[in-house]
Symmetry: C2
Subunit: 560 residues, 2 copies
């Protein structure tokens, strides 16, 4: 096929962005080439994005992939409307070999060309951020602004970060090296060596419902940038954002003269369990997965032919021991508990508070007082329905609602959840968080708060002391895993205990956040998402280990 754009042109266009990303993953400074503000995308972008989204509804999503044997799709927006889009369903025995056949030319293109093509894909996605925002909103239930930012620029940042890591890792060994070993008086031994990064095979991305792009892009772009064709298997309730991604990737690949089949989509029929079939296929050598612990464990156990990267469930914990900014702490925590109805893998679940109370800049506060002040802070934050809708979004599935409704049975309710009406989408289920008091010493309470209760349910766990809180934190991370840990303390000693616990149990820690940074948000290029060292995830987004084993280096040596 004739390329419409050469890889040299793409390299010239994107090299400065790649270089900046390479610099930033080492400095860990703030940077993003993807604007966060919706208005930055042009005057008509919002209307155009909405129109583009609406134009997709009720139709087939054509992709021109090999081996399409049927059409599947049953997405219903958490805001109410059915999307009515059907997607290609694959004959795996046709699609996977076709993808595998596309590998050599992509491998031979080399790391820089692959990075440039990936950056062009991200640039095209960025230009359509408003359309993606609608797609993310109406599959995840995120409120528009969050769907826009987390599903758009922040996801694109994480994709770019993965490309930078992948590129850096592949070029560390030179393409070619002379080698000359002295032999005393005899001639030296001389070899010429070439080193080629080779992909492992087809990579499978198994997407999640809540953050289809944000959690999907790191694996997708890490695999593609290291030369692996990528098959995208979205969550059945969140297909569209990844289907659009696949479509853009195929367009760019084809324009650049590469086989479009390097990126394909696989959508399953109801109850088919296509992910299980795909995960153990011999062609599939890399898998990225975000979702339940049960299926993550299944993948790690059964997909032995593949490198498996999983993000699973965890029990995120905040230790509240003391603070010099009580008001700031309460408002920071209230926001963290409310954002996207607590449906983030990073949302705090357990708030560990000494039963004798805490010291604050507003005087000592009893356990009950802290909990009720936090409940008030949440109520205040979400008192206005418009603001509540803008922060909470809709519940992603009926199980979250069931958990909210079951929460009062677990303990004394400190804050009851209320229903919020969405003015634009009356079909949406919007609920404010529930906070339940728990006695940390009671075994039946422990069974509840030591399980992940995904959604806007938090437990205010009364503990005996700071030391007791740290012990419980340790046990929680070790046994249940955690994507995030937060802590509030003015004591250097307690801070040190908490930090040591996080180093030992391998958890990412946010200390004394009282302003506009929240424990549940991480920034690409600077923050690691997860540690890869506790049961919540076996990898971090994004580090060298996330990319280094997606390819291998083949050496050919010849006498010089």
């Amino acid at each position: 096929m004739a390329a419409e754009v050469t890889t040299a042109q793409l390299i010239e266009k994107h090299r400065p962005t790649l270089d900046q990303a390479l610099e930033t993953i080492r400095s860990r400074a703030y940077w993003s080439p993807h604007p966060e503000h919706p208005k930055a995308y042009g005057e008509n972008a919002a209307a155009d994005g909405l129109a583009a989204f609406e134009a997709l509804r009720g139709k087939r999503f054509e992709l021109d992939q090999p081996g399409t044997d049927d059409w599947a799709g049953e997405e219903v927006s958490p805001y109410g409307p059915e999307l009515g889009i059907s997607y290609p369903h694959p004959d795996v025995a046709v699609l996977l070999p076709a993808m595998r056949a596309a590998l050599p030319v992509w491998r031979d293109a080399g790391p820089e060309a692959r990075a440039a093509v990936c950056l062009e894909i991200l640039a095209r996605i960025s230009a359509r951020t408003h359309e993606f925002a609608q797609a993310v909103m109406h599959t995840s239930g995120q409120a528009f602004m969050m769907a826009f930012q987390a599903g758009g620029p922040h996801a694109q940042d994480r994709g770019l970060e993965a490309v930078a890591y992948a590129y850096a890792e592949q070029v560390r060994t030179p393409e070619r090296a002379p080698w000359s070993k002295p032999q005393g008086k005899r001639d030296p031994l001389e070899l010429t060596k070439t080193f080629t990064p080779v992909p492992r095979g087809v990579a499978l991305l198994i997407g999640c419902n809540t953050f289809p792009t944000w959690n999907g892009y790191p694996g997708l772009f890490a695999s593609l940038a290291t030369g692996n064709p990528v098959l995208v298997k979205p969550h059945p309730r969140a297909v569209l954002p990844l289907a659009l991604t696949v479509k853009v990737a195929r367009e760019v690949l084809e324009e650049a003269g590469f086989p479009a089949d390097l990126v394909c989509l696989a959508v399953d029929k109801p109850g088919e369990g296509l992910a299980k079939t795909l995960a153990v296929r011999p062609e599939v050598r890399v898998i990225d997965y975000t979702g339940s612990t049960a299926f993550g464990d299944w993948l790690e156990t059964h997909a032995r032919q593949a490198q498996v990267f999983t993000e699973k469930a965890g029990v995120n914990t905040v230790v509240i021991e003391s603070t010099d900014n009580y008001k700031g702490m309460l408002s920071n925590l209230a926001f963290s508990l409310s954002l996207y109805s607590g449906q983030m893998c990073t949302t705090p679940q357990n708030l560990l508070i000494p039963r004798d109370g805490i010291a604050t800049d507003a005087g000592p506060k009893a356990y009950d007082e802290v909990v009720s002040d936090l409940a008030d802070a949440v109520s205040g934050l979400l008192g206005d329905d418009a603001r509540a809708n803008a922060l909470l979004g809709a519940l992603v599935n009926p199980q979250v609602k069931e958990r909210i409704e079951a929460a009062p049975g677990l303990g004394e309710v400190a804050l009851a959840s209320r229903e919020v009406v969405h003015p634009e989408f009356p079909g949406a289920t919007v609920r404010t968080p529930v906070i339940v008091k728990m006695d940390g010493g009671k075994p039946d309470a422990e069974a509840a708060y030591l399980s992940e209760c995904f959604g806007p349910v938090s437990f205010a766990v009364a503990v005996d002391s700071a030391a007791d809180a740290v012990d419980l934190l340790r046990r929680t991370v070790r046994e249940k895993g955690a994507m995030t840990v937060g802590a509030y303390t003015t004591s250097a000693e307690v801070e040190q205990l908490i930090e040591e616990a996080c180093l030992e149990e391998c958890a990412q820690l946010s200390l004394n956040l009282t302003g506009g940074v929240y424990v549940n948000q991480t920034a690409a290029f600077s923050d690691f998402h997860g540690s890869g060292g506790n049961p919540a995830a076996n990898a971090a987004l994004c580090d060298d280990a996330f990319v280094a084993n997606r390819f291998r280096t083949v050496e050919v040596r010849r006498e010089a």
Copy 2:
């Protein structure tokens, strides 16, 4: 404890060596700080080394480890003599927690101090290379010169290489970074972030019989340099080289003010299967293993709490299609087949030769002619008993001898194995290689040559054509794995086919070697040992992927 040497002193002493190693793993040039020539170690070094070795025999090898509940050891030199050394046998329930308890101070020392301590350990080992050579010779059966070089400087090089990779990987993320995100007209969001590389836990090294130090040092030093305490479980027949290593490591650690228990030894009793017990202990989070495919697969399947790095069996292949240096090719191959009686994981097993013969600078050669010329080259190389003993060494275990004796039953013998008497050690079993002709088209032959036949047994497999050879090469690597692939061809087209097969199946390729570099030897800092991408091994020695997942990075962020 009071340190006799500070880490600052060790850093000052070893930083130049570390820097040179860091530079060389990127340039892939020739370099080694460890002299290959026995005479470079001083006039009395050989005698002193031998005396030191002899002084160890017939005694307890004291290590002062916690939890020693018994003494074990039954090493018999492949050259005949019993070593008579007994080593500490661990009460695992005492030893592992003690090792885990030593972790925090080692983690807190940081990457540079850990690297410096590792380099001091290597320097002390290097100074005792003659003693190690005796220990390697009398456990592996390697001839002295090979035990000296491969067990000494080459193993030390691989250890140093692992330290360099580990250090580089840990310092890629800064210890500390400011982060400032603009907020339009409002104040920027400002955080201070710290990043700490944290080890995964206790690392287990399961040693092999043939190359206890060479195959053991990469994992041992990669784990130790990334902060993991290392428990060394040697092969029961090759304990001494690793016991000496543990002893040196403990001495250096203690002198530098660290707990000696960061490196411990675990020797099992006959039939105990201690490796299985250790491999699934919760404290053990990293495992390095070299040995049989069966146990490697067992580890990968069952030691799910650990990162598992395995080097297993493979079927190494050489394609012989044409050459412009027939004599050089024959002598190069003859050496490769003979060295250490073919008991290297890198020794070629299958020689694929077109049944219509090959083109050479000495005219066309029929299949039979090539095989008999190769047989003659091996016979010539090993005709002199002294030279044969110096190259072959002793058979490492009785199973190798059984395989030699079974080989004539597999096909027509082109070269029969002969017994060589060792003048110094009449108890040694020294055998020259056997070459068996095989018809590549026959299914019963295929069953034989597609299994690893470890030892000095090679198969000259007649194939239909160069294309047929490449097909068989592909299948062999894909299904059985290969540590090495060799090829001889003057055809650019055939070379391209072979190279493509190696890129696709992920195998390291040596092309047209006719001089003093052999397909079965790799040089640290420059050559990768294995690819980690075919069934012979899931990791390469040494690359970034070998070290990147031995630690995780914990981030702590605070408002600035």
